[in-house]
Subunit: 205 residues, 2 copies
DNA sequence: TTTGAAAACTTAACACTGTTAAGTATATTT
DNA sequence: AAATATACTTAACAGTGTTAAGTTTTCAAA
């Protein structure tokens, strides 16, 4: 029994080895440059070995994605200290924008690429880390409505609007579309201004 | 002079042939399945011939993108009939959502993929069709502020917020992220609800 | 301790991808 | 008719994800 456990542990270690190499690669060289062969070379294994540990490349990317969510969620721990739900929602938005701008490669994988979602479907698994973040968003909107700080509507409607906006801003920025609206040097500031504007505007008069 | 003009016309015809084949291909089979070889096969030319008419694949995609903008702008003609700028902005948003959901392949190319923007940089050209749409957005926001229908702020801030939101919704929907927030059957309705909510909320009390 | 099976890993290959250099027809001009 | 442009193709390079088959290593039972 002890040896089968050790085997399992070794297997997990190689899995981690693959994932770490993959993540380093796409942080260093960008998502599009990550190939199975390059990952394999980094860890001194044959390319086909990776297929003994993961179904396909999408599955590898999916797990990188998961680690991106961990990174993101770790930023949000201090949030529970904020009492005012609107203020908390605001800070969530700020964190979201910052995460996206500081980790474009991760953001790409987590919210833009379809590869991780394909893996998710193939694996029959759930978007656990993503769902967790969305639950937190719905919660804070719900709380704001209950405390009378927001006009009461369907929680999903407002949650979708807020997520939509911050995602929209980050993804337009990452994909070089936002500098068509404002000069590059004003971009980050204007993104934050837009978020501020939304929260000020939606706050019940 | 007459024959050199005819030659030029023939050249343009083949360019169009290539572009039309490309567009059909990615509407039929999806963006990711479009390859130079497949386009070439459709028009019964050798793959390398395409490189006599376009610098590279990105440039082909860029021109498909342009035709997507034409498609989109043609939807917006009836808009000038709407007098109330807020109502007009609202309808612009509705059109945007509909275009995205009805033409996901075009939308992908126009606002998500980086290939067309790379071509734009390589060509040293401007994002003419995109700029036109953004100008219309800024105009309507400006008008609403001047008529006292919106709280006066920097036009870009509000324009970015609105564009961000509709783009966010469409791109999350296209990339299968939005069904993590609401069930698939409610998605389209909730997207429109979110847009309605934003416009109602931002309207000056 | 040797045998035999199971596990871990690699080699070779397939069918693709974008792209370029060199070669071949086909018009057009001299 | 010969020379020159123009239009197009063939062959190849270097890369991609992935699979089938073969090899080496590990490890338990005889």
């Amino acid at each position: 029994m002890g040896i089968v456990a050790r085997k399992e542990k070794q297997k997990q270690e190689i899995r981690s080895l693959i994932l770490e190499a993959s993540m380093k690669l796409f942080v260093e060289e960008g998502f599009s440059k990550v190939s199975v062969r390059k990952i394999a070379e980094r860890i001194q294994y044959s390319p086909t070995t990776l297929y003994l540990y993961f179904k396909d490349k999408n599955e590898i990317l999916f797990h990188c994605c998961e680690s991106g969510f961990e990174k993101m969620l770790s930023q949000n721990i201090a949030l529970t200290l904020i009492n005012d739900p609107i203020e908390r929602l605001h800070q969530m938005g700020v964190n979201y924008l910052n995460f996206g701008l500081e980790n474009p490669e991760y953001y790409d994988l987590m919210f833009i690429q379809e590869a991780p979602m394909s893996a998710l479907i193939d694996m029959g698994a759930g978007w656990s880390s993503g769902d967790q973040a969305l639950e937190a968003l719905k919660m804070v909107v719900h709380e704001a409505m209950q405390k009378g700080l927001l006009v009461s509507t369907k929680v999903e409607t407002v949650a979708m609007a807020v997520w939509g906006m911050v995602h929209g801003l980050v993804s337009l920025a990452i994909r070089q579309r936002l500098d068509k609206l404002v000069p590059a040097e004003d971009m980050e500031q204007t993104m934050h201004d837009s978020l501020d504007w939304l929260l000020k505007t939606m706050k019940k008069a």
